[in-house]
């Protein structure tokens, strides 16, 4: 039976509650944002006792549905000051769903200096003092759980950055290879750290196959859905082979690859840091080009990247990370970028916020351009040990930019802008400006239609149609984020009608309901409106729905364009 697990860190108690009727049809992002909006005062301090941290598997998580074992983490973000929802893979979502928990709500804050581990099982949870894994990196923490609890336990944990409440800290989730997937953005690691929780481990014992209202229909729908994932060239072939890093060369050709802290749209050494080069290195060194981040994934965009001697360096080696270090920060050696990616995972920092911050620090003169070795030192020494310099860097891109009196600070709502320049790709600029999350490409991935010719074509260099494009994508994304499905199902969903049809059929067969496509769109709209209302009440008004001024003042090569979207047109985003 579905239930909500509440972990109160003020008085160290645990409660298992029935699911309120209003929440029964919700999962993933819809549920985390609904709970945060209902229970977290928008004006509270993100690291204070009134903030909560909510984990929720998606509506299809734990079933046999392909690509559905992601989950959401919601809270008030210490980076943006607004509502936050992150999505992550790993093994925990399926375990939590099969134990019958629709959500785990962590609330309150302990008074003393003691750190805790929360052990979740089918009957609830126990909160116990933790000393053994404190200050350990995430890889060692996962190993500790494998050895002392069991290899089949789920792990949700922090690195040193989260323990030190840094705004760049993420929350790490054990993946099928005992490596790390992340709730990356918005500093949620600091929220978990503020509650003095080093890790949440989840005992899978007693988990059950989830009930299906119509098993035959569910199976058929999953087969039809899965076929679309395999048939679409992007999800079926491209991502498997080259991973997301295939975008380095695409964005460079399109003139939208932000380079040297957003001063050019093309990068001279693009091929050295491209998905094609990554693939060649992986094959030559005995790595694996295709690899899943969570159970039941058919897309397999992850990979195992080895060094020249064939030793593991990193996995989940993403376009955004490679772009931020390689082009934005000018680190030309893909092997050094891979090593930095591994340290990001180990100390538990967002692999977008952190490298964009380093590029700003490079422009400030704190680090030479392209000096990956110096980045490694700063991560391993200053950020890991929380020296005053490490804390300054750990505050994120906006923090460092302000510390050095800079004007070219690529953030929206204080969150770092990712790997697509908004000046020559207007649609993604609308998403950065308007999403409730702070700058976040995944919130409404206009790159698909502006650049990749997926879901039609909208000219990236024109303002026409971009608000509508971003709005439709943001609504659809909020719905997908509520199912536990990987966002990459959007590639087939934008081109093959049977994809979304399969998703709706699975939802109906799982729960014995009669959702239509309009209902799913309605859910997406509802989620965005709940999040927007929270942000308005938190002080993130319409004046924060905009890009930094430098995009209006500085044109970018090769297209030599500025950001010139009318603010009123941008504000019309919320007319729905």
């Amino acid at each position: 039976m579905d239930k909500i697990l509440r972990v109160n860190m003020t008085n160290l108690t645990v409660k298992v509650e029935p699911v309120p009727a209003d929440w029964a049809g919700l999962g993933g992002r819809a549920l985390t944002s609904t709970i945060v909006a209902a229970e977290v005062p928008p004006t509270c301090h993100p690291l204070g006792p009134n903030n909560k941290l909510v984990f929720a598997p998606g509506l299809l998580s734990g079933t046999a549905a392909s690509n559905a074992n992601r989950f959401s983490c919601g809270s008030k973000s210490p980076l943006t000051g607004g509502i936050k929802e992150c999505s992550a893979g790993g093994t925990s979502s399926r375990i939590i769903a099969r134990l019958g928990y629709k959500a785990i709500v962590v609330e309150g804050k302990p008074a003393g200096d003691t750190w805790y581990t929360v052990v979740v099982d089918k009957d609830g949870a126990t909160i116990k003092p933790e000393t053994e894994v404190l200050r350990l990196g995430t890889f060692a923490t996962v190993q500790h759980v494998n050895e002392h609890y069991g290899e089949d336990f789920g792990v949700i944990t922090l690195g040193p950055a989260g323990e030190n409440l840094m705004a760049i800290a993420n929350i790490s989730v054990k993946d099928p290879e005992s490596k790390i997937r992340s709730f990356g953005r918005g500093g949620l690691g600091a929220v978990m750290g503020s509650k003095k929780i080093k890790m949440i481990v989840i005992n899978p014992e007693g988990g059950v196959a989830l009930p299906l209202a119509d098993p035959a229909k569910f199976k058929a729908a999953n087969q039809a859905f899965t076929k679309t994932l395999l048939d679409h060239p992007v999800s079926g072939q491209g991502l498997k082979k080259y991973g997301t890093a295939v975008l380095v060369n695409v964005l460079n050709e399109a003139g939208g690859l932000p380079t040297k802290n957003f001063t050019s749209g093309q990068c001279a050494h693009h091929d050295a840091i491209s998905g094609e080069t990554m693939y060649d290195n992986i094959v030559a060194r005995g790595g694996e080009p295709s690899h899943n981040c969570s159970p039941s994934c058919q897309i397999q965009c992850s990979q195992i990247y080895n060094d020249k001697d064939g030793n593991y360096v990193t996995s989940g080696f993403e376009y955004e990370t490679i772009w931020a270090l390689g082009a934005d920060g000018m680190v030309e050696d893909l092997d050094v970028i891979a090593e930095i990616d591994n340290v990001f995972d180990d100390i538990g920092v967002d692999s977008i916020e952190t490298p964009v911050m380093f590029a700003v620090a490079m422009e400030a003169g704190l680090i030479p351009w392209g000096d990956g070795k110096r980045i490694l030192e700063l991560l391993r020494n200053d950020i890991t040990n929380a020296t005053p310099l490490g804390r300054m860097l750990g505050g994120g891109t906006g923090h460092v930019g302000r510390a050095f009196g800079m004007t070219r600070i690529p953030v929206v709502k204080n969150q770092a802008i990712p790997a697509y320049d908004p000046r020559p790709i207007k649609g993604i600029g609308v998403t950065y400006a308007t999403t409730t999350m702070g700058a976040d490409h995944t919130a409404g991935y206009a790159i698909a239609t502006n650049i990749l010719n997926v879901g039609g074509k909208v000219d990236p260099l024109s303002n026409d149609g971009q608000v509508e494009l971003s709005r439709n994508l943001q609504i659809a994304t909020a719905a997908i984020d509520s199912t536990g499905l990987c966002l990459f199902i959007a590639f087939p969903a934008l081109d093959i009608p049977a994809c979304l049809g399969g998703v709706i059929d699975m939802l109906n067969a799982r729960y014995g309901i009669n959702l239509t496509g309009d209902d799913v769109i309605g859910l997406g709209k509802q989620v965005l409106k709940i999040e927007h209302a929270f942000n308005l009440a938190a002080g993130l008004g319409p004046e924060t729905d905009r890009l930094p001024e430098f995009f209006e003042l500085e044109s970018i090569a090769p297209h030599n364009v500025k950001w010139d979207m009318d603010q009123k047109e941008l504000a019309s985003f919320w007319n729905f």
């Binding site: 491209g238 695409v250 050709e253 399109a254 998905g275 990749l452 990236p460």
Partner: protein, 74 residues
């Protein structure tokens, strides 16, 4: 006239990364694809000097033509 052709991802296999080509005046992108034995249906993105293009577009001398299969990420 001379143009520069850049290939990406799977299109590089058995072909090249970047090459300068001498083509007749009036050559279209489709003509170039034909000489490279790349099916139009397999093409995801075409860029001429960084701007999206369609197969029927005629090329001018000196342009850079970039040809991608259907790929994506995020």
């Amino acid at each position: 006239m001379k143009i520069t052709v850049k290939l990406f991802a799977t299109f590089r296999q058995g072909r090249f990364k970047i090459a300068e080509q001498d083509v007749p005046e009036g050559t279209t992108i489709a003509d170039v694809l034909d000489t490279l034995a790349i099916e139009v249906a397999d093409v995801g993105m075409l860029f001429v000097n960084g701007r999206h293009a369609e197969p029927e577009q005629r090329l001018a001398g000196g342009v850079v033509l970039a040809i991608f299969p259907l790929v994506g990420g995020g």
